[in-house]
Amino acid sequence: MQTNFRLNGHQVKLHCDPTERLTYALRERLNLTGTKVGCNAGDCGACTVIIDGDACCACLVGVGQIDGSEITTVEGLFDESSISGLQQEFLENGAAQCGICIPGMLVSAAALIGKNKTPTRKEVEHAIGGVLCRCTGYSKIISSILNFTGKKTKTHKNSAVSSKVIGRSLQRIDGQDKVTGIDKFGADDFPADALLARVVRSPYNHADFNIGDLVLYKKENPGIVCVLTARDIPGENCFGVIPEFADQPILAETRTRYPGEGIAVVVGHKKTIGKLDLNEFPVKWNILEPVNTMEQAQADGASLLHQNRKNNILTQGYVKRGNIEKGFKNSKYIAQGSFTTPFIEHAYIEPEAGYAIRKNNRIEIHGCTQAPYMNRDSIARIMGLPATSVRVIPTSCGGGFGSKLDLSYHPYIALAAWTLDRPVGILYSRQESMQSTTKRHPSDIEIEIGCDPCGKISALKFEGNFNTGAYASWGPTVANRVPVHASGPYKIPNYMARSRAIHTTTPNSGAFRGFGVPQTAIALETTLSELASAAGIDELDFRLLNCLRNGDPTVTGQSFETGVGIKTCLEAIKPKWKKAIKSASSFNKNTINPVDRRGVGIASCWYGCGNTSMSNPSTIRVGLTKNSQIVLHQGATDIGQGSNTVITQILADAIGASVDCIELVGADTDITPDAGKTSASRQTFITGGAAALAGMELRRQILRYANAGEDAQLIKKGTSLYIKNRSNLNKVDLSHLPANQFGYVLMAEETYDPPTTPLDENGQGNPYAVYGYGVHLVELTVDIELGKICIDHITAAHDVGRAINPNLIEGQIEGGIAQGIGLALMEEYKPFQTENLHDYLIPTSGDIPKIDTIIIEEPDWVSPHGAKGLGEHVLIPTAPAILNAIRYATGATVRDLPATPDKVFRAIQKAKNTNE
């Protein structure tokens, strides 16, 4: 059928199935990939387009329905010569992090402005309420739209003429493509002849299976080119992010252990394979007794998921210091609690996608990832190839938060493209992404804390069980991190913390922003506040009294002579805390409103940057070409957090040149050295450290070659390099230098690996070279009749060591807080029940309060540039601060998350009954 419509000002004729989704037609037929597909259900708004003036989800519109209509996509919001003012505001304000939601945001904003030139903040929130963003916390998106419509809010224009760029809020170096819809994510750039792979998955928690007649199946479905099963894997059918614990099959062989586990890959032509009903795949299931809870898994006689793991325990973590019994004996006040948290889904807006292509005896994978090198090495083992035969080229990554560290789609397309010698792509559906990829560990935590009559903490005991799901993934990392962090940034002389990662036949728990520490902080920081109340001490003063200072030993016996920033964070928050308490208590006393109660809460965090007690180096290469171009080989994947920009800034200052002189290449396992994973809040700290070393080394080489003094400035004009020494400007003649194998006349390649030591049997040692610190202050209103929470304001103080890019730091903080709000109030993943974005709720633009950030710089010069990590710290204190504020407002303690209205209501009733 033919459909005629106007698209971005041009008349278009389409001959296609009129029930085809408009998203598909735009992306596949018209090559307009700025319109993203996040859910195919109208739940995420990433596909928003304007139809006859109205914002609509293109995934909910059939092509036949737009006959005669006028459509605008993100590509129609600017012309090729310039980007629109709205997009400019997005760029300048740092509204885009990963950028996958940005086309939907821009289009929604444009539709609003088309009807209302001067919207209020509320109207802006409403207009983008249908577009989910998981990175930014919406703040900078909203302020960009308000700025554009004339309501100027705070901006980060850099007027300072300092030659240094560290400390300046540079725009994202990769930002332009993110605000024009040009940026290519995993699903956006398949070769035209790519086949499509789809994965047949288990619909059960636990089952054995037999695959039926595949020859017949192929015959009945002529679009299928091949079906691949475990048998077709040339190398090891086993992977895992931690080699000692690797246990996960790429495709199950006879048994599946969680719902969504893959058993076969069906490859074929895009059009037919996309429509194939995989429920008809020939397989016989024999359902086994599931082991769905940690209790079931540890019960006597429970069936073992992995024969060599007794009691279904994957691993345990343990830290002990002092004498815990004595500590409690000497305690005047004791507070304790039991806490549970559910599975949390990462809910990045980009479902996993990518394609693989075979080039002779090498295989290339293009797609979203957080860990290209780790992926490369795993795929090599799976394919039975040397690592040099695998190339991973990350596309832009539409959010990761930990789940895109593990392999997911990668081996399927690698296997298919290798076997067929044709490019093969894959696009996970939202349900498939939610079902089959890792989650945040559900936790079951018991904590007990005691303090002396003056409020000094004398003892802390912590037992945490973490549901690690069917396979290891990052379970060991969670088990190791938790007991180290369960003390929080406090001085605790008598301490015992134990953690267990327990297998169940539920989704794999893996890495999610904080590796178990957010769950731990919920138990710790709420119990600490209760202990402070019991001791009759102000909650903030109690933390100040107990917080670590320079030189104090941590619970692992490590002490830092510099850089312990928690005290500074608490002191920065203190005046705001006092003011908030005053205002809340006066509201609660004076209001005639019997329904609303104001609450104020705080919580702290600390978080070790980099891997726990393990070497985790990053390497940066930087070269100078004959034409005076400085080329930065930057392998730290930027999943939205900003490493492309931050690493370039660090390098520029280290070389003593401006950012414009630097050309950025990578990430790409063939052309960038290994900068490790984007995880553990390590990129700014570790890869940044490598960039600083490499920059200093290249500078030394240039100055030596030019015979110039230490304080010389490097200036690039056209293709020439000049050295400026006071008022003298001398050209550096590079033309006689020979180029090396990389094409550089001068080059530096430097590695930074933060110093750590292993932990002994009592968990004593130096697990991290540096910790970052933070404090959140939450002000909220509890509707005590319904148990509904409205968060009014959050102030966040974070010690970042040295702020490389304040605007990007704010973006991280705002986004982390949004995830913390979700964790506290609404998020709960339940297999089979919440495998979509309308039953699994993440915060919308209307759920985020005004956020003020206070950046603290408590330098720690363990690294060459003084910066600490931040990415995970930012979400840790939010949830406990919210729970503390609920308790302040109502006396209610919620210990089973999320604090949905019914749970808050019940807790309020319980508190009332206890008081009566």
């Binding site: 059928m1 928003t48 914002a55 309420g129 109030l825 309308h838």
Partner: protein, 282 residues
Amino acid sequence: MYARPKNIEEALSTLASDNWKVLAGGTDLFPNLKEGGVNFNILDISALADLRGIKETQAEWIIGALTTWADLEKTPLPRSFNALLQAGKEVGSIQIQNRGTIAGNLCNASPAADGVPPLLILEAKLDLVSTHGTRTIPLSKFIKGNRKTSRRMDEIVKCIRVPKKKCFGNSAFSKLGAREYMVISIVMTAARLEICQQNRIRESAIAIGACSETAQRMPSVEAAIKGKSIEEALGTISSEHVASLDPLSDIRAPREYRFYAAQQLIKRTLINCQKIEDNYAN
């Protein structure tokens, strides 16, 4: 097969010819597509321009079947429609409100359909048309259960009729969910109040959604508050008045909480009706 007729006669004769799924705004049909995509006949009625918009006759307000949630704001309507307007602003997101139709919301018959309580309190009726003619059914009879309606396969909803004699007073809508936008209700209530000069409730209509298989009118509450002032009414409402509900325990909330929240939400909706009254009075 796919058909997008330009007039209703053609639509009806098509519909009579085979089994068709009716597509209007698409906000329910597309998200519910199963593995394998569209493998059924689609009758796309979105080109039936006559069915879009709101008309007023002497006795009725008539909402055409293709009227979207966003369209509601384009027509000045009496205050008794406030509940429907407020519900319209809380359906999904702007993207959904721009495409989704009010009639489609009724036909989808979700227990948590935002459109049902506000139309129950207006005692709305639906015109169902087929090649056999037109029948008019009250909304309360049209929705027969979770995702079940009395629409026959050969019928389409042509319009929603609201009798003007049920358009007296103010109405208000309240929805309780765990987040601000794009949220499925834990409980929702709609109330319409006629308040006499002595500030007493002369007549009321109250409906609750998401607390039983289909949204319900609450005659027990209506009877209990008749003749009372709002303040008295708030003190009157108790758990026995909501005993006719049969809420589920699900991922959004447990049954007991829904019983309780329903009472609170009724009270708030009554207060909101009063606020609207006061705003108009001032």
